[in-house]
Amino acid sequence: MSKILVIAEHDGEKLAQATARSVTCAAQIPGGEITVVVFAADPAAVATQAAALKGVSRVITVAAPHNGQALAAILAPQVVKLAAGYTHVFGASTTFGKDLMPRVAALLGVPQISDCMAVEGAHKFKRPTYAGNALVTLEAPSDRIVVATVRTASFDAAATGGAASVEAVTVEVALPSHTRFVSVQAAKSDRPELTSAAKVVSGGRALASKDNFQLIFSLAEKMGAAVGASRAAVDAGYAANELQVGQTGKIIAPDLYVAVGISGAIQHLTGIKDAKTIVAINKDAEAPIFEVADFGLVGDLFEVLPKLEAALAG
């Protein structure tokens, strides 16, 4: 039987949807039993949310002041200590998981499966390479613990309504002092979060300025959508780094993705190919974004966006 340990990702209050998606991935392992571990200064609220995820049979909490901030160097030795007795350790392929899990895998002395997009057996997984242009199925050794990060866009969030047990544990392990958290500048907004939003409006280089990028925020607000951006728009300073969608930014799978003034480099397309419906608005009819769009509109975004907003208001 497989015993899977899923590392909870959270901000101290709210469990990240990425963890609920990782649980869905873990649940696809045949005969698996899922434990979620919450590292926090005060894990109670997050543990309650994790315990409500269907498919989770147990939640363990590790409450400690040093777990108040997610630092890979502090968390990894604790995960390694807890991993004894498990067959799999999963984390989401977010900046949190990408920072932590390789450190865990190396300490355990096993290779890691990054960005698992499909489970084909307890030790067989599929993952994207080359910006999603080649999918590789990998077989991990069956006699070793499996460490993987989960490509969250490939899995729906686990439903709630479960009632797993919650158990506090202590982890006795030496922790390093070489890494210290200072601060985090998080963009506060009322908009939906990019990786979990049902709708996303994204802007590209064609917006041409930070001021013009407000058009994207305005349309997103009207649609109740999250805001995304192409790498070109982020590099040019039109949008914040955490809005970047693509191979080196966020991989998303909304019901509706509206790409405005984005040409559609393969590195961007890999971040949106799981979107259910893609709309492209671009003045270049030859732009590669139209190859993946369900609905394409050739036109100048500065003329199209006001009309679109008006039509949606009407």
Partner: protein, 249 residues
Amino acid sequence: MQKILVGIKRVVDYNVRVRVKPDGSGVATEGVKMSVNPFDEIALEEALRIRERGEATEVVAVSIGPDDAQQQLRTALAMGADRAILVKTDQPIEPLTAARLMLEIVKKEQPDLVIVGKQAIDDDSAQTGPMLAALWDKAQATFCSKVEIKGNTLVILREVDAGLETIEVDLPAVISADLRLNEPRYVKLPDIMKAKKKPLDVIEIASLGVDTALGLKPVLTEAPKPRAKGVMVKDVGELVDALKKKGLV
């Protein structure tokens, strides 16, 4: 700080659209343009800037790969690295093995700082940096977009999903470069000539005593299923109607 080690990976160029081999054994790389992994160029640029500010004395570029990876190391030398080391192998190397090999180089070279790209654009694994930090038992800072040196400590700005995080790490450390850390310099012709004279040591992989067998066995490589062909709409009205029909607006 004395020495900075920079990881340089030879990868299929950013602009190449790779093709999956029909027999499912991998992607076709023969005759395809190869380059330095773009994130590794950013890593190297940062190391060079630190040295040019007088905060480090030597930058060493390290690659693991086939003999042809010397080309990418020559590019690194032309950018300004002082010398280069190639760990030569014709076998595919997975990130844990790369980290173990890098650790052997680290033990010999005793750098104060190792800078790598946050991911390689071929396998997109994003593992080698943090794995090396773990094996070396040192601090790590992934996805760096700003690095400030304060004595024996680095103050790092990291690009995280929530926004920007600041952490402090003590040296020695391993850090990984994100896109906006810097803009790498262009190589000029005289620098390419000069680079030919810089030292490039080639080490046989077997001499490092690391087990290089693949832990993860690739069973099949396939192309993704293409999306169904969409339609072009003539104006905003038609677009909104189509989205309404699907219940999306």
